[in-house]
Symmetry: C2
Subunit: 270 residues, 2 copies
């Protein structure tokens, strides 16, 4: 299986690329084609919009590529997502796309365009403590759809998003249909009051209120408040679900960490 790695958000660290290539070589069941664009930098981004878009469009159109694996998150895929999804070449529909965090902008748009998108670990995760397991989990699913890589309680159809990304998707051309979806969210590096505010925003959405249930992944690196907020993240999410009539489904095994599981957006018929 040939897996192309591109970086629609921020640049991939060379040491992460080396470590992931070593894992792929050791496995022997896949070939990683890490696009040179992954190492470009332009301010915050892995190269200018044009370069990130061109690399993504190139691998989407390549019939020899079986999967597109987003190198890492950060910020920026939303800036090129609409253009990436315009006039899709036929080869784009014959592959799967995986990533999480900022890549959720693309996952949403790809899914909406009818392509196979999946939330899951990314190459840069190899630098996390225990990150090699995250990379193996992603590859186990990409190469052989290993069910042990999946979030364990998925009731398909399912989707997963970073909470801030989901909030910023709503009302944009990337917003997917959430009707009947087992919807999972997670968050990193935000204040609890910001999470409460974002929950107000997303649970006001009529589309989101049609989800089958909302589940909460891990909320990590919570920024400290000058006063304690007064509720933890689980209570916050449960409260907004109650207010909005959305079923709160409890915990989801996703997050900005090495334990992050795979959530395919489309039920595959194989």
């Amino acid at each position: 299986m040939r897996i192309a790695v591109v970086a629609p958000s921020c640049s991939l660290k060379p040491e992460a690329a080396d470590a992931v290539q070593a894992i792929a070589a050791q496995r022997g069941d896949c070939e990683l084609a890490i696009h040179p664009q992954c190492f470009q930098t332009d301010g915050h981004f892995a190269g200018p919009d044009e370069a990130r878009l061109a690399a993504l469009r190139e691998v989407m159109a390549d019939p020899a590529v079986d999967a597109v694996w987003f190198a890492r998150g950060g910020y920026g895929s939303n800036r090129i997502a609409e253009a990436a999804l315009a006039d899709l070449p036929e080869a784009a529909g014959a592959k799967v796309y995986m990533g999480y965090s900022d890549a959720g902008f693309l996952l949403a748009g790809l899914h909406k365009a009818g392509l196979a998108a999946a939330w899951g670990p990314m190459p840069q995760d190899v630098l996390r403590d225990g990150g090699d397991r995250a990379v193996h989990r992603a590859l186990d699913w990409l190469v052989r759809r290993d069910p042990s890589a999946l979030e364990p309680d998925i009731q398909a159809p399912a989707m997963a998003f970073n909470l801030t990304v989901l909030s910023n998707l709503l009302g944009t051309p990337l917003e997917p249909d959430l009707s009947g979806v087992d919807l999972m969210i997670e968050e990193v590096s935000e204040h609890l009051y910001g999470i409460d505010r974002t929950m107000f925003h997303i649970t006001s959405s009529a589309n989101l209120r049609r989800a089958a249930r909302l589940r909460l992944g891990r909320v990590s690196d919570v920024l400290s408040n000058d006063v304690e907020f007064g509720a933890d993240e689980q209570a916050i999410v449960a409260d907004w679900c109650r207010r909005s009539g959305i079923q709160f489904g409890g915990a989801a095994d996703i997050g900005h960490d090495a334990r992050n599981r795979v959530v395919p957006f489309r039920t595959e018929k194989r």
Copy 2:
């Protein structure tokens, strides 16, 4: 003129209340009724939702109150805004409401409900460097509609919002009609990449694209990035306006500071 002060978000510092009362006494043209709820605390908030809502409803319904002045921002007015606007008593329509920052959730909803809302300095601003001028500016406008308090380039109808608040308003029952509006935004304590992401979100809104123009107030206390973002806030906002076909109107004289000017949401016929 009788001005009621309530705190729908976070609690007012007693020293701010004292300083603002001293200013009002010195002026002699208004009476400030600072509601005891302003000093309640409940975790992050100035009392539980029920207490903040009750105080707000009480002053809205009081025919002796000419203006409702929100004590300060922080976070939390969105949690009570819908309930505050339900079954409005007649007296609620005979007064003006002023605040900014988190109070924007209420300003939006009040305006949408046909009431007179205005962006402007708040009591807690007295603690800022030069904050007494901010308080006088707010009172000059509340008491005698002093045009020198106004943002100088307003082309009515106008509105002003904190960028994050505006983003979290979109798609909620509080979202006002922005058609033809001279729309001003400002931001505080965010990363530039977050501002770029939020601009993506708001400029995707069909409602916002009907604004007459978008102007940028001050962006203060920008959080530092590990790498320089690569564009400043003016370039970011101008770029998203260009992408979305919104007219970028340049600078607005608003912000989280003592220079913050008044922006009435409704053109008054007096």
